[in-house]
Symmetry: C2
C-alpha cells in the first residue's frame, strides 16, 4: 500500500452577508451536471486550520471540547482533530448557479477547502436500530 | 489555500473467509477508545485502484455504469471515479477486537486503504424531505 495519497481542493466554502455557499473551481464545473436533481449533498471539506503535526497526531479528545465528557478516541467522535482532516456534512441545497452551490448551512469556517461533493442518498443503515452513547 | 493535502492510510479493509473487517494500524489504536458505544460507523476509504491521472480527471459518468442512465457529473453520483478518491460507507459494527473492527458488510475491495473512521450519528438532514432523481 502507498504510504500517502494526494488530495486536491476542488472548491471553497464561502460565508458572506448571511449567504452560505460552495464555490467549485471552474475546472471541476462539469462534475456538477445533474446535481440539481437532488435536495441534499454530502460535503467533504478539509479541517485546514488543524493541518499540523501536533493536531494530526492527537488521538484522544473530550467530545465537544467538554471536559465532563469522557476521553474518547477521535475515531469514536467527529472531532476536527484527527489523523486525516476529513470533515463530512450533509447539507440542503438552496440553489445552484453556474459553479456555486448555495446551501442552507454548514458548520465550517469561511475559506475551508472543499475536497469532494457527493449527491446525498439515504443509507439503508438508517432503517436499523442505532446505538449511541450518552455524550451524543 | 494550499494546492495539495496529504492523506495517510490509517488501516486496511480485509475480506477473508466470509469475515469483513477493518484493521486499524497499531499506531492509531488509541483513536478507537469508546467506539464500542456505537452500533454503526462512517468508514472513509480510498478508491486506490483508480489512483491515476485519467480516472481522477473523469468528471462525468453514466451512474452505476449503466449507459441507459443519463450522463452525470461525478459530484452528482457516488462514482469511484472522482477527483479525490474518497469513498464513504456507513457500516454496522459486529464486534471490535484490539484494533480490528468486524463489520457486517462494505462495498469495497479487499485491501482498500482506510483513511478515516467516524462514529455514526444520524443527521438532522434526514428528518426533512429528500429529493432524488429517477436513476437512484
Amino acid at each position: 500500500m502507498k504510504d500517502r495519497f494526494d488530495i486536491f481542493p476542488v472548491g471553497v466554502i464561502r460565508k458572506q452577508n448571511g449567504d452560505v455557499c460552495i464555490e467549485i473551481f471552474e475546472k471541476y464545473g462539469d462534475a456538477l451536471l445533474g446535481l440539481d436533481d437532488f435536495s441534499h449533498i454530502t460535503v467533504c471539506y478539509w479541517f485546514h486550520e488543524n493541518d499540523n503535526h501536533e493536531k494530526r497526531n492527537t488521538l484522544q479528545v473530550h467530545p465537544r471540547k467538554d471536559k465532563n465528557n469522557p476521553l474518547r478516541g477521535v475515531f469514536a467522535t467527529h472531532s476536527p482533530l484527527r489523523p486525516n482532516l476529513i470533515a463530512i456534512s450533509i447539507c440542503k441545497i438552496l440553489s445552484i448557479k453556474d459553479t456555486t452551490i448555495f446551501i442552507e448551512k454548514i458548520d465550517a469556517l469561511d475559506g475551508s477547502p472543499i475536497i469532494d461533493i457527493k449527491c446525498f442518498i439515504p443509507s439503508r443503515a438508517l432503517t436499523s436500530e442505532i446505538k449511541l452513547p450518552d455524550w451524543v
